[in-house]
Symmetry: C2
Subunit: 362 residues, 2 copies
DNA sequence: TCACATCAATCAAACGTTTGACCAGCTAAA
DNA sequence: TTTAGCTGGTCAAACGTTTGATTGATGTGA
């Protein structure tokens, strides 16, 4: 493996045959073109010398690679970015494709340069992936074999795999609805990300469907809600509107703030107030107590399906006509939802002494 | 950019010159080998046709690529995996290198296959990166240009960039020490990960240095402490040993459980009990209230420095002799540490009504 | 006028692989 | 005896690029 690895000619010399035959035998295309004895000799020589084909030469000759470009937009801004990436990598490998990875910022110029670079490397197709669902500014020239995952292009009509925001969030909300909640508040992102727009709309639908009380008044918007505004929002909600029995959160991060507010207010989850969210960042949703009932963003599925579609396209056996594929996230039920407390009961009654006593007993 | 891009011969024909000259001009090596007029004509033709060099052919001819292999071990198990990856990618690009990405499980066989694959792609060097600090099982054959980031190999003596566990964690502990804390408990991982072993030792050193009381008794070990045991640990600590004024946590995730326990126990942070941790997962450390004072794992620096070292090695201009490089994480001071409460004061006095009243005033 | 430099450009080989065309020797059917 | 087919291989061209060697002008100094 060091510096120079053996080449076809070395194996051929060692086995006393031509390079052609070695190539044929090693690629399996030369069945019945040589004797078993020679075949064995060639294979032994290849093994002995640790021969590995030079993919550069092979691809040059064959006029195509088995490499796909993964163009990742601002990977680091999100935790769990890895999951889409991992899914893409594994799917590619399982089809014997390799991954050429470039990460850039979300602007047409950087993306254009990255695409040119990939073209130079003769990738057969490109997957553009982002780590939160948004629009990507595309340059003029685009490869024909292009698929989007967790984002969508500003131009063109390419296969696009995104989370089914509406259907997914609806699962969370339905959980509240069928549990009997009527007084549901929602803490939503105000900036017009696709996720925010869709989830807001979903809340309206759910409110109508389940006949939630005062739902219009109970929608609370914050710009850049990720920056810790869940706490303030929940404080405001519970203090100004104590009849609320459930809070739906834009995402897990918001829910984390909500938990802290409810904790401080001595409102117990879920017996006094139920909480649902979106994302399922295990670090949060599994780390909170009680565990957060939330919808898992389908990062893995988006990565896998986008790559498989891309490969089908590259191999010209894509029969799907649908461009936009929305993937529904799975509802992960933990312990943050229960039936609503009786309508007459104040939320400010959650006894805190209970867990304390439990512990003190022993 | 579609399917077939123009090649040297096309540009040559368009400009009415030989391919040699086009190559020379476009690579800048042909200064004063042709007239300015011809040079302009060639460049115009190249632009017109959207010519992009075929890197396969170039690398084959030049007998070397500018591609480095990034072998990532189990990327998805950690959030913020992206940061190391991003750092590696950006550093590589800034030196005009590209990244060939493979992600595998931590076993010698998978890693061996990935390395062979990279060798086939003629990478000039390999960076093996993991997303938590541990040992990597290596196969027999290893490339000569190999560097480790956030992990280390079971064999061989390769440049290795890891977090300075001791020096970093000591920053957190020193923060407690110089604030005057004497009764410090620690919640530590029991499994013998390098991080756990080193951080345990660091705690012992700090305890000795600052003359912490009963420190041996105040070390609490949990196997797989990431699975939410911070809560139970903190409960146990505060109920059995209420004189504790500060809790040092193995990592942010543990601190998250500690916060929840202290919240339930009505112990306020930091006025009654201070908390420090390790990792600085912004999702947690920035999302908790009050913000968690913790040490940032130097993912970005490890990625960057490892790649730059690797490139120096590949270009045979590496003058460093040191193999193991420990990178110190930065202490991120937020609001979870204060001076210890008076020795006579019980921790169970944090008034919860205060923030409630504040809010009710308006 | 000759030798020699310089300029502007071309030639041709090579990188490692793949693969259709070819070939020599043998057997079996026509 | 010819023909055809099989067995067990080899030959040589090609993929797109780079680059040392070469070349044919033109200019220049002795």
């Amino acid at each position: 493996m060091n510096l120079k690895t053996a080449k076809l000619a070395d194996v051929a010399k060692a086995a006393g045959v031509s390079t052609s035959l070695v190539s044929l035998v090693l690629s399996g295309k030369g069945s019945n073109r040589c004797s078993e004895e020679t075949e064995a000799r060639i294979k032994a020589a290849a093994l002995e010398l640790g021969y590995r084909a030079n993919r550069l030469a092979r691809s040059l000759k064959e006029q195509q690679t088995r490499t796909i470009g993964l163009l990742s937009i601002e990977v680091a801004t999100s935790p769990y970015a890895g999951e889409l990436l991992m899914a893409a990598q594994r799917s590619a490998r399982s089809h014997d494709y390799d991954l050429f990875f470039v990460e850039v910022e979300n602007n047409a110029k950087s993306i254009g340069e990255a695409l040119e670079l990939m073209a130079e490397h003769q990738v057969v197709g490109v997957l553009i992936a982002a780590f939160f669902h948004h629009e990507i500014e595309l340059p003029e020239r685009l490869p024909s074999n292009l698929v989007f995952a967790n984002c969508f292009g500003s131009r063109g009509d390419y296969p696009t795999y995104v989370p089914a925001e509406t259907a997914s969030f609806m699962q969370s909300l339905k959980m509240l609805g069928i549990s009997g909640h009527q007084n549901v508040a929602v803490i939503m992102e105000e900036l017009p990300w696709p996720a925010a727009v869709a989830r807001t709309e979903t809340f309206k639908q759910a409110a109508q469907q389940f006949e939630w009380v005062d739902s219009a008044r109970r929608m609370h918007f914050y710009a850049d809600v990720n920056s810790n505004q869940g706490y303030e929002a929940a404080m405001k909600i519970m203090l100004e509107d104590p009849s609320v029995t459930a809070i739906a959160c834009y995402n897990d991060r918001v829910a984390m703030g909500v938990y802290q507010a409810l904790n401080e207010l001595r409102i117990s989850i879920p017996s006094q107030v139920s909480v649902v969210a979106f994302d399922d960042l295990e670090l949060i949703s599994g780390g909170l107590r009680p565990g957060l009932t939330t919808v898992r963003l389908p990062h893995y599925q988006m990565g896998r399906e986008a790559v498989e579609r891309l490969i089908r396209i590259c191999e010209e056996r894509d029969e799907e006509t649908q461009k936009l594929v929305e993937i529904r996230g799975e509802l992960v039920v933990r312990d943050s939802v229960s039936v609503p407390r009786p309508a007459t009961e104040s939320p400010f009654e959650a006894s805190f002494s209970a867990p304390l006593q439990e512990k003190e007993e022993k």
